[in-house]
């Protein structure tokens, strides 16, 4: 790809027909959001009916820093009262 067609990178999130939430499927290059949607449909959904696609310019995404992983995610691990693990889940409750 030459620099004259240096298209921005887009992140693609897809919700499958029976899925509950959008899942990051991958990324692609496209000149604008409209074309990114069409390209995502070709690359990641193979045109299944009834899926939903989100495209987000990669520059719009702020990620947590790997270096801060400990302070970010660790402290909760040793405090069981912070986790909802002491509940009986009634039969018939789906998607938990």
């Amino acid at each position: 790809m030459s620099s004259s067609t240096d298209w921005p990178l887009w992140e693609v999130f897809v919700r499958s027909r029976r899925g509950l939430s959008h899942t990051h499927a991958g990324s692609l290059h496209a000149p604008d959001a409209e074309m990114a949607l069409r390209n995502a449909r070709d690359l990641y959904t193979r045109r299944s009916e009834g899926v939903s696609i989100w495209v987000v310019a990669s520059t719009e995404i702020t990620a947590s820093s790997p270096d801060e992983k400990d302070s970010f995610f660790e402290p909760a691990g040793d405090k069981p009262y912070r986790h909802p693990t002491f509940y009986e889940i009634p039969d018939g409750v789906k998607h938990l």
């Binding site: 790809m1 298209w7 290059h29 000149p31 074309m35 690359l43």
Partner: protein
């Protein structure tokens, strides 16, 4: 002439032309898009040609003069804008035609109902690129306009009456189809800041010629490549 043969040949020949882009498209994503469209068309061609006879025999063992496709779809790819212009002219026609066939309840109704979704996407793809190239840079504008001009004279043939596709039973009226096509294409071309070509749309000798088996120069070479292997090993199963 069988209408299934005419429509099947349109899809087969354009599919082959789009396949020639494989590995040569401007960007990877567009590579996939063109291949996708080519696959859709090939699928349509298989169904249509199977209505007429053996799909492989029809595709690989017919001479140039026995092909019934529009001259528009056999035109060489040229640059990307040229390919998009060809795609715009044809996919708008195909979309309008299949919508009418699907609603018409004739022998092509079921096939058209399936294909119309695919073709709607082809049309959208071509329109999106027409807008971007036409309203892009000075060079892309110029190339898109050149593509529209170069292929304009082949567009009249799409509205020549085809036996089995005219108003009787199929729900397709060529004149109504033509005016719907013109207004759709005009709308897209103008939104893309381009100008609709003004030249003649049917030359004296090209009026309906492809449908009668008369083709343009590059088509024979295209067929030679497409049919080479099959003709070298007749009767082999692949």
């Amino acid at each position: 002439m069988s209408a299934a043969l005419a429509l099947g040949d349109d899809a087969l020949v354009l599919s082959h032309r789009l396949g020639e882009w494989a590995g040569h498209a401007p960007v990877l994503e567009e590579e996939v898009a063109l291949a996708n469209i080519a696959l859709d068309l090939l699928g349509q061609a298989r169904v249509l040609l199977s209505l007429v006879g053996d799909e492989d025999e029809l595709a690989y063992l017919r001479e140039e003069r026995a092909f019934r496709n529009l001259q528009l779809v056999e035109q060489p790819n040229g640059d990307f804008a040229h390919t998009i212009a060809r795609q715009l002219y044809f996919s708008v026609y195909q979309h309008l035609l299949y919508e009418r066939l699907a609603a018409g309840g004739g022998e092509f109704a079921d096939l058209a109902a399936k294909a119309v979704k695919e073709v709607a996407y082809h049309r959208d793809h071509a329109e999106q690129w027409t807008l971007r190239l036409g309203d892009g840079t000075a060079e892309s504008h110029e190339r898109m306009q050149a593509g529209l001009e170069a292929l304009w004279r082949f567009t009249g043939e799409m509205f020549q009456p085809v036996e089995g596709l005219d108003a009787t039973g199929s729900g397709v009226d060529p004149e109504e189809l033509e005016s719907a096509w013109l207004s759709a294409v005009t709308g897209t071309v103008e939104r893309a800041t381009l100008t609709l070509p003004t030249g003649p749309r049917t030359g004296a000798w090209t009026a309906g010629a492809g449908r009668q088996g008369v083709h343009t120069e590059s088509f024979g070479r295209m067929l030679a490549e497409m049919q080479h292997l099959h003709r070298s090993h007749p009767g082999a199963s692949w």
